[in-house]
């Protein structure tokens, strides 16, 4: 039997208008929950962008004891040269490190330092950021080595914070998505109840099951779609806000490092819309299956 688009549009619009309060509630819940999902996705991608940025400049510093002998220093130097995963190393003498400390340390701490008590160091760049740990493991217990420093622990702490935030976002979003699904289900159920006389006449005169079901299906779909469109707009706004807040004069700031590309924003919005459509379809399908006997 031909199912005209005109019929589906007309019936869907009528149903949505009849249950407009429930429709608004369902659309808003879908929008809020999907905006949270979108925000979590933005955060994840932003964190990944920042991590690449942070690790690009990873440097491992092997600090030698101030008392380290020349042979111990030479042993470390030659071993570092032989490591295939270390791109290159620069040796900083005690005098050079003392000079740098004069710039970095507060005067009260620096006053306690002398050239003789300052450690010399090797400043090394690994081929890949993850090799920083290997350098640490290899040299931390080497004779003459005072300490091995890499910024990995700081990066991991930040990553962990972002992961926790993401999980919070996703958990809240999941609960909200579930309630959005239930709201859509209930809206369709009310629509089915409101149109029970029409449905019984339709069955009586031989309308096919799909003819009866489709307007209800499309009602849920439209609710999911509108909700997800609102969420996509919120995600777009959030992205614009964060990019606006990122100061171009401070390329090292976290917000600048987390800056998302247009493609990343588009893919996030696409995921949000797909989830919205799925929620709408599943909610209405369950309602039709449970409450519409054809």
């Amino acid at each position: 039997m031909p199912l005209s688009a005109d019929y589906i549009v007309r019936e869907t619009t009528t149903n949505l208008w009849r249950n407009r309060l429930m429709t608004i509630a369902a659309v808003l819940t879908v929008a809020v929950s999907l905006a949270l999902v979108g925000a979590a996705l933005l955060l994840k991608q932003g964190a990944a962008n920042a991590e690449v940025d942070w690790q690009r400049g990873v440097q491992v510093t092997v600090w030698m004891k101030p008392t380290a002998s020349t042979s111990e220093i030479n042993a470390v130097r030659s071993e570092l040269k032989q490591l295939p995963y270390v791109h290159g190393c620069a040796f900083w003498s005690q005098a050079q490190d003392y000079h740098e400390a004069s710039k970095l340390l507060p005067a009260s701490e620096f006053s306690a330092l002398t050239v003789g008590s300052t450690p010399s160091s090797f400043r090394c760049t690994p081929n890949q950021p993850q090799y920083a740990t290997a350098v640490y493991d290899r040299f931390v217990h080497q004779p003459g080595v005072y300490a091995v420093g890499s910024p990995n622990s700081a990066i991991h702490a930040m990553e962990e914070t972002i992961t926790i935030l993401q999980w919070v976002f996703v958990s809240v979003a999941l609960v909200l998505l579930l309630s959005a699904g239930v709201l859509i289900l209930n809206t369709i159920r009310m629509a089915i109840f409101a149109r029970r006389r029409e449905v019984s006449v339709m069955k009586l005169v031989g309308a096919t099951n799909w003819f009866i079901r489709l307007p209800f299906m499309s009602e849920g779909l439209v609710q999911g779609l509108i909700g997800s469109a609102v969420a996509a707009a919120i995600v777009f706004g959030l992205h614009a806000l964060l990019n606006g807040l990122a100061n171009p004069d401070q390329p090292g700031s976290v917000l600048s490092q987390m800056r998302l590309s247009g493609w990343q924003l588009f893919s996030t919005d696409a995921v949000v819309v797909v989830i919205g459509v799925l929620i709408g379809s599943i909610g209405s399908a369950v309602a039709i299956r449970r409450f519409l006997e054809v």
């Binding site: 006449v201 309308a207 096919t208």
Partner: protein
């Protein structure tokens, strides 16, 4: 056109609605199913529409065995079987025209067909002038005429009516019967479940009487109760008279 073969229907409560009923109704016949409330008349109608399935036996409608018919084919069966009910089942927010047109629209008939067939059938039931009225603006008899128009607009092979005059006064009921008779004369098989004795006696058509789900009488040109003049006519004799 309609055939019941040893049909039995038992509801979950254990009530036997129909017990071992066998019945043959030929194309173009006009048949009353009579009997007191609970005798199984409505169950027979519901089984013909495949709203109920029997526990035993087989049913044929318009040449098709409907018990084992796949679910997706049921709507197509119903397009060949128009049905009228005691409570009219009209849509209160649609006009007379829209109520009748609805039956064609939901089975996907194009607008040109709707615009041709609906006025014709409204003319047949005598409601051409009330096409723009809402059901609430019509009398009970007029509402039932709309229901008949809706059931017949698709020109079904069979027209079923479950207590079609149950809510109407005797005069109006006769008008509905005349209308159904007119439809029958177009070749449509008409089957009416009723306990309106006066109408059955007045029409003098084939009468099948059910009592506690069993066919106790099948009489050509019968009356509601047992005809004192002719007495009950055996089914074999009915078949012989028809042939």
């Amino acid at each position: 056109m309609i055939r019941f073969e040893n049909v039995t229907k038992v509801y979950k409560s254990g009530t036997v609605a129909v017990r071992n009923v066998s019945l043959d109704i030929q194309k173009g016949e006009f048949v009353f199913i009579v009997g007191p409330s609970g005798s199984g008349k409505t169950t027979c109608i519901r089984m013909l529409l495949r709203e109920e399935l029997p526990d035993r036996g087989r049913i044929w409608v318009a040449g098709r065995e409907i018990i084992h018919m796949p679910k997706w084919r049921v709507p197509y069966l119903r397009r060949n079987v128009g049905c009228v009910f005691q409570d009219f089942r009209l849509l209160p927010n649609k006009t007379v025209f829209q109520n009748v047109a609805f039956a064609l629209e939901v089975i996907g008939r194009p607008k040109s067909v709707v615009d041709t067939q609906v006025p014709q059938v409204l003319d047949l039931v005598g409601l051409a002038k009330k096409r723009d009225n809402l059901p609430s603006e019509l009398s009970g008899g007029e509402q039932q005429r709309v229901a008949v128009a809706r059931a017949f607009v698709n020109r079904p092979l069979i027209l079923l009516a479950d207590e079609p005059t149950g809510n109407l006064d005797p005069g109006t009921s006769q008008g509905i019967m005349r209308l159904l008779d007119r439809i029958n004369r177009t070749g449509t098989t008409v089957l009416i479940a009723t306990h309106d004795a006066a109408l059955v006696d007045w029409m003098r058509r084939r009468v099948v009487e059910l009592d506690q789900g069993t066919v106790v009488r099948d009489q050509a040109r019968g009356v509601y109760g047992i005809d004192a003049a002719t007495g009950p006519v055996p089914r074999t004799e009915v078949a012989a008279r028809r042939s």
